[in-house]
Symmetry: C2
DNA sequence: AACGAGGTACACTGATCTGTAAAGTGTGTT
DNA sequence: AACACACTTTACAGATCAGTGTACCTCGTT
């Protein structure tokens, strides 16, 4: 409930939507501090006045950007999960999370949008709450995927944290390295990790 | 050689040192974009003129900040490794890397300085090369620590990558969460990981 | 005594930053 | 006809940004 409202942007007018999409693209590629509101207005084909009428402040726009980013990520992942054959194992479903990064390289070129935002936003910025909510949602999702068919003896929460940290490390370095080799490597690690788990069934 | 020069700042005058120390503190706490050169000059008790005479540009100063940051991190870690009893296992030595984060909380409050910098710096910024060199040095170090007494059957490089990703994920989230619980958890995961490895000797 | 190096003081440039003021246009609804 | 709404245009405020020019001071070295 709290999380849902934190991760869902308010209803938007057409113009606001265009501003937000433009802001999302620019914020992700160049960072939030590096992009001015004038640039956003200009590139979206709307005016700064509209931007402020709709969003109130650059900080609020940045927070909305993170909400949009979460929404897109979540949708892409759910679509990928839905595409799996019925009865897909927990392992296959968790690996689909990694694939959603390696296969959509354009949207991961600069690493994790949420980590990047947290890196440059002060503690009191409204976007930081969105970042925390997003990360909590990812951990929770991994926990749910793992609890569906895993052995009752395994600690699903701990395993989810392990997979989560591998994922985070790999995605972050996707933004530092020039390629996705760490994502591929992390995927293999998780495959091993969950393979061993299943072997102990 | 290349790496060493990338990670070592040039010799500095006393004033330059004070400017750099001040910049390091402010850049880490608030981000590079968020801190102006006027603030750095003022807080270091020197003038902006001196800053530019010594460093030439803010970009160069930011790159030097990352070099200093790496140097301090490396020294702290070497001291911690030197404090270990002689004949300490690879596991103990790798875990010391994690301890260097959990036990020096002030310098990790905002997560990984290098990841944070990469998040806000454009691809062509000189600091990015320092970030990559630093991360390479960390992976290499882990690989060396692990190869010292591990079983010959294990793939040290792959194990080092695994530990590295857990470390990276945990340190990054140290800057997002309010506590170091993920660092503690990651340390335990590595303990397990290397424990199993030793059990297969 | 001369000189260079490190540093100070301070005014300044030109650009860019977030945010606001004021007045007006077009469209659809009641 | 009246009104709300989304949005426009132009202009501006006030701050801050990185970076420079110039003149001067104080050392230690030669």
């Amino acid at each position: 409930m709290t999380t849902a409202s934190l991760l869902t942007p308010p209803p938007l007018t057409d113009g606001a939507r265009r501003i937000l999409d433009t802001a999302a693209r620019l914020f992700y590629s160049h960072g939030i501090h590096a992009v001015g509101v004038d640039t956003i207005a200009e590139e979206s084909g709307l005016t700064k006045r509209t931007l402020y009428d709709r969003f109130g402040s650059k900080d609020a726009l940045a927070a909305a950007y993170l909400q949009v980013r979460h929404g897109e990520w979540w949708e892409r992942l759910e679509a990928r999960l839905a595409d799996l054959p019925t009865g897909a194992s927990a392992q296959e479903r968790v690996l689909a999370v990694f694939d959603s990064y390696t296969l959509d390289s354009a949207s991961t070129e600069r690493g994790c949008a949420f980590v990047n935002a947290a890196a440059e936003l002060p503690a009191e910025h409204p976007g930081r709450a969105v970042v925390r909510a997003h990360k909590q949602a990812v951990v929770d999702l991994l926990g749910e995927l793992l609890s569906e068919d895993a052995a009752p003896t395994t600690d699903h929460a701990a395993l989810a944290e392990h997979v989560f940290l591998l994922l985070e490390g790999a995605v972050v370095h996707r933004g530092i390295d020039d390629d996705d080799h760490r994502l591929v490597a992390a995927r293999a690690m998780v495959e091993d990790l969950l393979g061993e788990d299943r072997a102990s069934d």
